[in-house]
């Protein structure tokens, strides 16, 4: 595993799988809202954001595939890996829940992703820097969108407030994984490929606290944080998602339209 022989190729491959898988899985979760959004504008917005994430994922997995050098394509990585080979954060694979849960998850991730992409524009790896320069433009309006809904729901009716607070409470134990560095993160930071994960925490806290205050949301206490996604130890939800996401590619390998 990469932890044992952290060559630069392994680090780049593992790091790009993380970038790609977070956005592929979250994009897929968001796409589940297509045709089911609470209002038409929101249905369109969630589909747009899902598409941005799928595009970012495709780009990151292209870089991963090139780093791997095994002749696999981005599509091969997306559709022909098993759950234990996925490197996404646990938070992105949780079922979409109600609209409040979707918005809360989105906001907590967007506030992380926009700062990560901003920092990655200075990556020593030019393929990551150019991916980030593009993604940060999209992440900036993603976080504006999810923060706006946080305030609308949190500062809305008793019902919307309760649902949002419950969602934040349920999600909180999955937020720590964004900032817990492991040997891959440390190797990526040492090589100048990525910022140290801990440097993003303060920036994330500032946005989260600001929006929580405006949304009348109480920040849960930091207690136990779940982790495992980065090393392939996933929740039971990922397998079901992959079964649906990968079925067409696996049933008809090489199909085109």
């Amino acid at each position: 595993m990469a932890e044992e022989r952290a060559t630069s190729t392994d680090t780049l491959l593992e790091y790009c799988l993380r970038l790609g898988d977070d956005r592929l899985i979250l994009g897929h979760r968001l796409s589940e809202w297509c045709g089911h959004g609470p209002i038409l504008e929101e249905d369109i917005a969630l589909a747009n954001i899902a598409l941005d994430f799928l595009g970012q994922a495709s780009h990151a997995l292209e870089v991963a595939a090139a780093a791997e050098g095994a002749g696999r394509s981005a599509d091969d990585l997306a559709f022909f890996r098993e759950g234990v080979q996925f490197r996404n954060l646990l938070i992105v694979e949780l079922p979409r829940g109600d609209f409040a849960f979707t918005i809360a998850r989105q906001f907590l991730f967007d506030a992380f992703s926009v700062h990560l992409m901003d920092a990655l524009q200075k990556s020593a790896e030019p393929r990551i820097a150019e991916l980030a320069a593009k993604a940060v433009k999209e992440d900036r309006y993603h976080v504006r969108h999810s923060a706006e809904w946080m305030v609308k729901l949190g500062d809305g009716t008793d019902e919307s407030h309760t649902r949002l607070q419950n969602a934040v409470n349920d999600l909180w134990r999955f937020t720590g994984e964004m900032f817990l560095a492991d040997p891959v993160d440390d190797a990526a930071a040492a090589a100048g490929i990525a910022p140290a994960a801990s440097t993003l925490k303060e920036k994330w806290d500032a946005v989260v606290n600001d929006v929580f205050a405006r949304a009348n949301i109480t920040r849960p206490a930091d207690e136990v944080f779940m982790r495992g996604g980065r090393t392939g130890k996933h929740t039971e939800h990922l397998g079901h998602l992959l079964a649906e996401m990968q079925i067409v590619a696996r049933s008809h390998p090489g199909a085109e339209w």
């Binding site: 917005a45 780009h59 940060v136 900036r140 976080v143 504006r144």
Partner: protein, 162 residues
């Protein structure tokens, strides 16, 4: 030796499938075209990461060059510098407006996160009124937002400025 101007002329016949008044050159998707050891190399960049029209533009670029007598074509994707609406010419913006889409404005420097944006005035492409409002930052394609004109009561698309 093939003149780049001839190649560009062919590429200008390929339109954005979502906004057919703009061609792929003025949209800024085509970054370079040149002859390289007997074949034509076209460099393209995506507008948005997930824009589904990119593949279609790539296919149409290859088809147009083939029809123009250049059977050996390679399309390469480039990502840097990242695509921006700031590349769009005044002439292209006028075409968008005539098509019913409010054109993008030149962007000003902004902090990384702007949660409550002071809205840039977007003139209605139909009546010219600046009494308009943005209904959603997300429209029928990744590159457009949904707006409404309070003067002529017409909903309209606006090309996002990124």
């Amino acid at each position: 030796m093939i003149a780049n101007a001839d190649l560009l002329e062919i590429l200008r016949t390929v339109k954005d499938p979502e906004i057919p008044v703009l061609d792929v050159v003025e949209l800024g998707v085509v970054r370079d075209v040149r002859e390289e050891s007997g074949k034509v190399v076209v460099e393209i960049t995506p507008t948005y990461s997930g824009c589904p029209a990119l593949q279609m533009m790539e296919d149409e670029i290859i088809a147009a060059l083939k029809a123009g007598g250049f059977p050996d074509v390679e399309v390469r994707k480039v990502y840097s510098p990242a695509w921006t609406t700031d590349w769009m010419s005044a002439e292209s913006k006028a075409k968008l407006k005539a098509y019913g889409v409010a054109p993008p404005h030149v962007r000003e420097a902004e902090p990384l996160i702007v949660l409550e944006r002071a809205r840039h005035t977007v003139a209605c492409p139909y009546c010219g009124s600046s009494n308009t409002e943005e209904k959603s930052e997300f429209g029928s394609t990744a590159c457009k937002s949904i707006n409404f004109c309070n003067s002529c009561h017409q909903p309209f698309d606006s090309f996002k400025s990124i």
